[in-house]
């Protein structure tokens, strides 16, 4: 496989967790819930995916465990943010800290290890072999043989665009975000809509976690989300929530992370290649603010 195809394949693989988490955060973005807990939800999902997969020897059980954990985390977030009226930003930091501390503790307590848990008994996600696609020379190498969640994420991005802009739920979601009291006056319960948006973000973020620990690699390590939740938050802000925009930006970020992975085989110290996604985020914010300035000047 040439360098270019391996780079593109790595890009697609690296973009998936960011894409899934950003899609989750997209729902709360439209519902006007300032949700910064994707990082923590992802981490919890990654842990429980490994837990389920290891003890039941099945990636399906792992995924279900992760989804349940994502749901519970989302409910905790919603309980504080919606019903106790705690500041959303503070709740998000609390959830992230709980996720970081909780998974580190459980890693130690359940598996008896510090740092990372690796075992051949963790069953990873199956890789999809698409019959016709794999025969196409360049495209086949790039698109074929990824873990199943990669394809689900790509489809979900398009599905989310339809859901948000073409369905009743999407309309209510956006209306709640625009002005929650007005939606209440026409009979939509804004608390319930916000609750749903948080639940969806929990589910998507935990799927991102599943991909991290059962697809991208097959292990769980402390703080393995490593800022991907924050990057996905930056992406959402950059594209102002549009799902297809999120897809595009995630692919770009996946490309940079993939570039870092490919460059690890070169002489550049790995610490510098690992920095690439974060510097890319800063650069993207720079481009964004420049554009915004231009818009302000034009108007």
């Amino acid at each position: 496989m040439g360098l270019l195809t391996s780079l593109l394949q790595a890009s697609l693989s690296s973009c998936t967790p960011i894409l899934l988490a950003a899609l989750g955060g997209m729902f709360t973005y439209y519902a006007n819930v300032f949700n910064i807990a994707m990082e923590g939800m992802m981490l919890i999902g990654a842990y429980f995916a490994v837990l389920g997969s290891y003890f039941f020897g099945s990636w399906v059980v792992g995924t279900i465990f992760a989804l349940i954990s994502g749901l519970v985390t989302a409910l905790v977030f919603a309980f504080f943010a919606i019903y106790l009226k705690t500041d959303e930003f503070i709740t998000g930091i609390g959830v992230n800290m709980l996720a970081l501390g909780g998974t580190t503790y459980l890693l130690r307590n359940t598996f008896g290890v510090k740092g990372a848990f690796i075992s051949p008994e963790i069953i990873s996600l199956p890789r999809l072999d698409i019959p016709l696609l794999k025969d196409i020379p360049l495209l086949g190498d790039m698109l074929n043989g990824h873990p199943i969640l990669v394809y689900i994420a790509l489809v979900a991005a398009i599905g989310a665009e339809v859901l948000v802009f073409r369905t009743r739920f999407g309309l209510r979601l956006r209306a709640t975000g625009e002005d929650s009291e007005t939606t209440r006056s026409v009979g939509v319960n804004p608390e319930r809509t916000k609750l749903w948006s948080i639940i969806l973000s929990g589910l998507f973020s935990s799927l991102a976690g599943v991909y991290l620990s059962l697809g991208y690699v097959t292990l769980f390590s402390e703080n393995m989300s490593n800022g991907r939740g924050w990057i996905s938050l930056a992406i959402i802000i950059l594209v102002r929530g549009r799902p297809l925009g999120i897809l595009g930006m995630s692919l770009i970020f996946g490309f940079f992370e993939g570039l870092g992975l490919v460059l690890q085989n070169s002489d550049i110290p790995p610490q510098f290649t690992s920095m690439i996604p974060y510097i890319a985020t800063l650069f993207a914010l720079y481009v964004y603010s420049k554009q915004k300035k231009k818009e302000v000047l034009n108007s």
């Binding site: 905790v76 504080f80 106790l84 009226k85 705690t86 500041d87 503070i90 709740t91 930091i93 609390g94 959830v95 992230n96 800290m97 709980l98 970081l100 501390g101 909780g102 580190t104 503790y105 890693l107 130690r108 307590n109 490593n226 800022g227 924050w230 938050l233 930056a234 802000i237 110290p269 610490q271 510098f272 690992s274 920095m275 974060y278 510097i279 985020t281 800063l282 914010l285 720079y286 603010s289 420049k290 915004k292 300035k293």
Partner: protein, 349 residues
């Protein structure tokens, strides 16, 4: 009255958190009584353990007030971790390669560490000034960059080949900060800085402006504060505090060198402290000592019982959630109940 309410809420919330911790330990099949006994005796039970608690609190005090001042001024500086690391690496390198007499050297190194943190936060300030980029994401991203940058420095150019993890050389003996009994001088430095910060936030014009920006940036601007310029100053000052925390950990801690993972969770701990303390500087100081107690006691707990010290990380997060949750719930539902009584009174009268 307000103070009394706050103290009561905090005490109640911490008690509830400990109860949850109690049940959690029991559920995990360990003895909670033994665990908490160990927590007490290793965290505060003797002069030795109390001094360890204060030493453990030293970096937390500074990252905590860094976050508290930033949040209290309406500046979302979440870059304590990165600023801390920059302060630590600069202090470690200067400590290893700079030749100055002891006291002067310590002063210079500590100040340089702080300045390194300030400069690192200054990048975010500069990006904000030139391109109006939000400091919230930029400080976060700079955390990751500094994590890898310092790791690179400790792995390649300044690696001590005798160390078993990536680490720089041990700093010169003359720069080790003195301990009184068990208590390291760096704790006193941190406390003095905390009180100085408190004083200047209360009594100087610039501190007043910072606080006004936290209450309402638009109002502050209308009243004549240079909000943009002050935001940059807040970033620089809070970066300085975090950098100072890193430098003090190198000179006054136990490792005396920069090594992989030395930043631990000090940055986020600081953010949590500011949140629990509701951005009050003296409250942050108090809670930092409390977190120091949990950390020191947690190690003792692991030593005596089979509850791993990571349990403290969970307990800390639970405390944060319950304290802020109950605070906001009491405010919100308290207002509603009061409003209902008022309505009833008006209606029946």
């Amino acid at each position: 009255m307000k103070l009394l309410k706050r103290v009561t809420v905090s005490i109640a919330a911490i008690t509830i958190s400990f109860l949850i911790g109690f049940l959690f330990i029991k559920w995990q099949g360990n003895s909670p009584v033994q665990a908490f006994k160990a927590l007490y005796s290793y965290g505060i039970g003797s002069w030795f353990s109390f001094a360890s608690t204060l030493n453990a609190a030293t970096p937390l005090i500074l990252t905590g007030i860094s976050a508290a001042i930033a949040f209290g001024s309406g500046v979302v500086n979440l870059g304590q971790h990165g600023q801390f690391l920059m302060g630590a690496i600069v202090a470690a390198l200067l400590g290893a390669y700079l030749n100055l007499p002891g006291w002067l050297g310590i002063t210079v190194i500590v100040l340089c560490g702080g300045i390194a943190g300030a400069l690192w936060a200054g990048i975010a300030a500069l990006l904000k000034k030139l391109y109006s980029m939000d400091e919230f994401i930029s400080t976060l991203m700079l955390n990751f960059v500094s994590e890898y940058l310092t790791l690179y420095l400790a792995t390649y150019p300044f690696l001590d080949p005798k160390a078993y993890v990536p680490a720089t050389k041990v700093i010169q003996r003359s720069y080790f900060m003195h301990s009184f009994g068990m208590l390291n001088m760096s704790f006193l430095v941190a406390v003095v800085i905390a009180f100085l910060s408190y004083w200047f936030m209360r009594n100087l014009k610039i501190g007043y402006e910072f606080r006004m920006m936290g209450y309402n940036a638009v109002f502050a601007k209308t009243g004549g504060c240079a909000v943009e310029k002050n935001t940059h100053l807040v970033l620089l000052y809070t970066g300085f505090l975090s950098g100072l925390a890193g430098a003090l950990l190198i000179l006054g801690g136990t490792q005396h060198r920069f090594m992989k993972g030395i930043g631990a969770n000090f940055g986020w701990d600081g953010v949590m402290l500011a949140i629990i303390a509701d951005n009050g500087i003296l409250e942050t100081l108090f809670y930092a000592v409390f977190f120091g107690f949990l950390k020191t006691g947690g190690i003792g707990m692991e030593f005596e019982t089979s509850v791993p010290s990571e349990f403290i990380l969970v307990l800390q997060a639970v405390i944060v959630m319950i304290v802020v949750g109950s605070r906001s719930a009491i405010d919100y539902f308290g207002d509603r109940i009061r409003a209902r009584f008022t309505v009833r009174k008006v209606v029946t009268d």
